[in-house]
């Protein structure tokens, strides 16, 4: 399988903290890769490195055979930031139109993008007057406009109701079936099941890089939530100094604090 994105030994420092510590992973072309991990694990930093807006310490990120952030990639990669990054004093359509023109798309493409995120009826509304969920969908419209070959989405479904989430995932799936590479970060486990591949990161390192089924099989459970907790627990135990047996109660507490990290 062709890889659209390859990350090799990536080290990123923000301030005095090492956010990504020699991360190596890859994301296949034309597939949906889910990026999961507790908050603070380095998901957004990895995403920023993939779109080329993150200063990296060392290592390489290659997107469609080019170094991430290369000039010729800029029209081929669509980027959704975690917080909606659109103009509050423009309408939904005006936003889509502006980011569309930058990507080389026409007015019809801007309308189509707005329709796709389910905002047809609020098309001419100022973004500043939208609800939080609508605003993040408006921001999503500005990332998908012009049909980029690679879509990098930082938590695109946060704050959306189940019906809309279903529709958004259907639209990601449809794009992938047309050959688009989709990288989605999320902390909702039922969304992980919809991905072709999963990258689980924790503390800036890779915990798992596999299909959802394989992750579940390895953990011996049908539930991805539990599977991730098991993986996190295993890695936490293998990190500890040898011979320090963790009491069962403490271990459970440990797991619980991580599960909080994932769902928050």
């Amino acid at each position: 399988m062709n890889d659209a994105i390859t990350v090799t030994d990536l080290v990123v420092e923000r301030g005095s903290a090492t956010v990504l510590n020699g991360l190596t992973c890859h994301m296949p072309a034309g597939r949906i890769t889910g990026l999961l991990g507790p908050s603070g694990a380095g998901k957004t930093t990895l995403i920023r490195a993939v779109v080329g807006v993150q200063v990296v310490r060392s290592g390489t990120v290659t997107v469609l055979g080019r170094p991430a952030g290369a000039r010729e990639l800029r029209a081929r990669v669509g980027y959704l930031t975690q917080a909606p990054s659109i103009y509050a004093d423009l309408t939904v359509l005006e936003n889509a139109h502006y980011f569309g023109s930058i990507a080389g798309a026409d007015a019809a493409a801007a309308r189509a993008a707005v329709d796709q995120v389910g905002l047809s009826s609020s098309r001419d509304q100022l973004v500043g007057t939208l609800s939080g969920g609508q605003r993040s969908r408006a921001s999503l419209a500005c990332a998908v406009v012009g049909d980029p070959e690679v879509l990098v989405l930082d938590e695109p479904t946060v704050g959306q109701d189940p019906v809309l989430r279903e529709e958004l995932w259907a639209s990601f799936r449809e794009r992938a079936s047309r050959g688009t590479t989709v990288l989605v970060s999320s902390h909702v486990m039922d969304e992980a099941n919809r991905c072709d591949r999963l990258l689980l990161i924790r503390d800036g390192g890779l915990l798992a890089d596999d299909t959802p089924d394989e992750v579940k099989r390895r953990a011996g459970t049908d539930d991805l939530d539990r599977a991730f907790l098991a993986l996190i627990r295993n890695s936490a135990e293998s990190d500890g100094p040898p011979g320090t047996a963790v009491p069962a109660g403490a271990r459970r507490r440990h797991a619980r604090s991580h599960s909080k990290g994932i769902s928050s």
Partner: protein
């Protein structure tokens, strides 16, 4: 620079302005009202009034544009739209010159309205043509745009951006020749005044006020101001980074 992206950016900024009637009011109405205040202060006549009105015609747009653009650019940084733009084909120059052109257009409307009111309502007279007055006023407003965009790089919040006004703008207003003619200032003050771009904008206005035909000094002043606008926009573009820590 990409003309299509530059054009889209200009259109986008003008759309933003259109959705913000208060800012339009601030741009167009406030200078006229403030000039009216000065007119009333000087009892509506006298040679000093002409002198002050003419300089104010340049000063108000300079200050207002500085404020508006420094905040607008800061909002691009804090709202994440700048980060998003830096991941797209949009160039730094597309963005900065987009701001320059869009606000330049707004400044032109502002200058025409303010100058018209100055001449018709407040009885302002100039030896030189009104067209030249408008030209200088637009360039002075653009000077505010360039400085505002540049200064926004040195502020992290809107709170800090507003604080730049007394540091960057007020010294230029004090030393531009409005209160004391530049020639009457102490040598060191004159030297400072000489490196502040607003001094040249005010001098250009005074040249149009005093001479029927544009003088050599006028053209030099105009060139200095235009050069500073380009320099400001260029330096502002240099402060933008595609990659951030």
């Amino acid at each position: 620079m990409n003309t299509r992206i530059l054009g889209a950016t200009i259109a986008r900024i003008l759309h933003q302005l259109r959705h913000d009637p208060r800012t339009i009011g601030m741009l167009i109405v406030v200078p006229v009202v403030l000039m009216g205040l000065i007119y009333a202060m000087f009892d509506g006549s006298g040679p000093v009034l002409d002198h002050v009105l003419l300089i104010m015609l340049g000063l108000f747009p300079f200050v207002i544009m500085f404020l508006i653009t420094s905040i607008a650019m800061l909002r691009e940084r804090t709202s994440g739209t700048l980060e998003r733009l830096m991941s797209t084909r949009a160039g730094k120059a597309d963005l900065l010159f987009g701001y320059g052109a869009a606000f330049g257009l707004a400044a032109a409307v502002q200058a025409v309205v303010a100058a018209t009111c100055g001449y018709l309502l407040y009885g302002m007279t100039t030896a030189g043509g009104a067209g030249l007055v408008v030209l200088v006023v637009v360039l002075t407003a653009l000077l505010g745009v360039g400085l505002g965009l540049l200064c926004s790089a040195f502020a992290r919040t809107e709170f800090q951006a507003v604080q730049l006004l007394p540091i960057v703008v007020i010294p230029q207003v004090l030393l531009c020749g409005l209160f004391v003619p530049r020639g009457d200032m102490a040598g060191w003050l004159q030297a400072i005044s000489d490196v502040l771009p607003l001094s040249y904008a005010v001098q250009a206005l005074q040249e149009v006020g005093a001479n029927a035909e544009p003088t050599g000094t006028f053209w030099v002043d105009l060139a200095v101001v235009a050069g500073c606008v380009i320099l400001g926009l260029g330096l502002a573009a240099a402060t933008l980074r595609r990659r951030t820590p």
